[in-house]
């Protein structure tokens, strides 16, 4: 693939998303916004799964922490500080994540970690549903969309589709940050840990500390995107932290492909399209959706991203080093020789 061809798909996707309010109805725009937050949420989960080799089943807990922090502060009238609110939500999520990680990662991996994170997220959900000042079962409704002051001009995100475009930009920033983490030195360390933790320890990597770091980052990003979600949906409920919501990033990642950075995002988009396309098939939509997902898992074990890489790889000549431009473990091999 030429560089132009590689850039064409993402560019088209970004243009499509940004221009959406100009030609689609508000229902589609709302779904697109939700999908964007889910996609970034899935990316944050895959930093743990696809990169570090840890499966958390309680990621929605962090999402709901961020959403509640954002909801409470916006309802209290801190809208003008919304950017700080998102950062604060991320920090709260990261702090809670760090605490959970200190306990959970010390001894438990694999299925034990899955169950433990699931249990803690459930604990949080039940606690929220019994906390009266957070609205108990009903959650917090009527979350106002903020107005952002930029020096002399201020942007009212409540007006028109402004919050949608803000969401595009904010999700873009979070995605860029995750991409930077995943492709830099720390990302390489995490991938080495996933492949062989013992070997990683024997090159001098503090495996526990790096796993804890990845867990903390994942929780922080999950909470930050939760904070962006709250004013978009304008209501948060304890169910945001439910097991169903925790399985969403897992589903997206499996559809899109865990071995690719963009896999979870592709999975989220594919799921949204399938879901939207089958919405009118009353009583049939679950069957159709389920069949499509089953087909993807059966016929594309590395997800859509893996299938795309295979298709693209077939058309690429091996480079002089003997590896194909489309090969590699995570996305394209970021550190191919000649890349610098």
């Amino acid at each position: 693939m030429t560089r132009a061809a590689r850039l064409a798909v993402p560019t088209a996707a970004v243009l499509l998303l940004v221009s959406l309010p100009l030609w689609a109805n508000s229902g589609v725009v709302f779904l697109a916004g939700v999908t964007m937050t889910s996609a970034v949420f899935a990316l944050s989960w895959n930093l743990l799964f696809g990169y570090t080799g840890l499966a958390s089943f309680g990621s929605a807990g962090f999402f709901s922490i961020g959403a509640y922090v954002s909801a409470v502060l916006l309802r209290e009238g801190y809208g003008s500080l919304f950017l700080l609110v998102v950062v604060l939500a991320g920090l709260v999520g990261a702090a809670v994540s760090w605490l959970v990680g200190c306990v959970a990662l010390r001894r438990s991996k694999g299925i034990h970690l899955a169950i433990l994170t699931l249990a803690l997220a459930e604990l949080l959900r039940i606690t929220l549903s019994h906390t009266r000042w957070l609205g108990s079962e009903d959650g917090l409704p009527n979350i106002p969309r903020p107005t952002l002051p930029f020096g002399f001009v201020s942007v009212d995100l409540a007006a028109g589709n402004n919050y949608y475009w803000f969401l595009c930009a904010a999700c873009g920033v979070l995605t860029a940050a995750l991409w930077w983490i995943a492709h830099g030195r720390f990302g390489r360390v995490l991938r080495s840990i996933r492949q062989d933790p013992e070997r990683a320890a024997f090159i001098g990597i503090d495996v526990h500390a790096c796993r804890l770091g990845a867990f903390t980052l994942s929780g922080g990003f999950g909470a930050a995107v939760g904070a962006l979600y709250a004013p978009w949906s304008q209501i948060v409920t304890p169910d945001l932290g439910s097991m169903m919501h925790s399985t969403q990033p897992i589903l997206f990642t499996l559809i899109g492909g865990a071995t690719s950075f963009w896999g979870p995002m592709i999975g989220a988009a594919a799921f949204a399209v399938i879901d939207f396309g089958t919405r009118t098939l009353v009583g049939m939509s679950e069957i159709v959706t389920g069949s499509i997902l089953l087909a993807i898992v059966l016929f594309a074990p590395h997800g859509l991203a893996g299938a795309w890489r295979r298709l693209a790889g077939a058309r690429v000549r091996p480079n002089p080093n003997g590896n194909t431009a489309a090969g590699g473990a995570i996305g394209r091999p970021a550190m191919r020789e000649g890349a610098w």
Binding site: R191, S192, R199, G204, N319, G327, G328, P333, M335
Partner: protein, 257 residues
């Protein structure tokens, strides 16, 4: 005075009721090549694991360069200058050969506090890249830099693992059966490689090995283990002459020879 770089004192290890190591003492001097031999089940690999920190021990002490590392996890020992390879070469299969070495170089840089290049870019720093190329050259892997590690031949995997171990700038290299599963000609090449690296880096080497040709050709001193105890320790000549060793390990053939 010669520096005693590794000092193992009365190390005991048991798995349940089964005692694998029954109080092992050994010391390795800086610059020498020290080999541990013994029949299957003698406890060589367990001793190796205790020395590198892969498993803990139930008694005794491991001193590395004068410091007690008995309770230290393996990554701390690696940062102190212990490099190791495994019986079955372990490399990062999904990485290219280049990335395998790069990740080890970067880990060493980070542990030593060497800046690894500008932070804002995801590309590895030029110092790390140069060091990686240097190691690949040294181990004749440059031509395979872009190859995924999982498609390497057995010998190349072994060499790659050695490159990963060397990336940590070890002062002592612990090799667990470096020629296991190799053809006779590959064994000779591997022994030459170890000799070359030992000479160029002035490195201490501790190794376990089954191949007597390799052992007697490389080692300055040899320790013989049997049933979790040390039955002899000395120069290759002393070991060859030792009657106890001959009876339990080298067997009848050696006595006749």
């Amino acid at each position: 005075m010669v520096n005693r770089i590794l000092d193992v004192r009365g190390v005991r290890k048991n798995y349940g009721a089964f005692e694998v190591l029954k109080g092992i003492d050994l010391d390795v001097e800086e610059g020498e090549t020290f080999a541990i031999i013994g029949p299957n089940g003698a406890g060589k690999t367990t001793l190796f694991k205790v020395m590198t920190g892969e498993v803990g021990c139930n008694g005794g002490q491991v001193l590395f360069d004068g410091a007690d590392v008995t309770r230290q996890p393996s990554f701390r020992r690696v940062r102190r200058g212990m490099g190791r390879t495994f019986q079955v070469a372990r490399v990062f299969n999904e990485f290219s050969v280049f990335d395998n070495v790069l990740v080890a170089v970067e880990a060493q840089f980070a542990a030593a506090g060497v800046p690894s290049g500008p932070r804002h870019t995801v590309r590895p720093g030029s110092a790390a890249v140069d060091r990686t190329h240097e190691l690949l050259d040294k181990l004749d892997l440059s031509a395979r830099a872009g190859t995924p590690a999982q498609s390497l031949s057995h010998g190349d995997r072994k060499r790659l693992e050695l490159a990963i171990a060397l990336a940590g700038r070890p002062r002592i290299l612990m090799l667990d059966e470096p020629t296991a599963g190799m053809s006779p000609s590959d064994r000779t090449a591997a022994a030459d490689l170890i000799r070359r690296i030992r000479a160029s880096e002035r490195m201490t080497v501790v190794m376990t090995e089954h191949d007597m040709g390799v052992i007697f050709g490389l080692a300055h001193r040899i320790m013989v283990m049997n049933g979790g105890t040390r039955i002899a320790c000395g120069t290759p000549d002393e070991i060859r002459r030792d009657p106890v060793v001959r009876s339990v390990y080298l067997g009848r053939e050696a006595q006749d020879a």
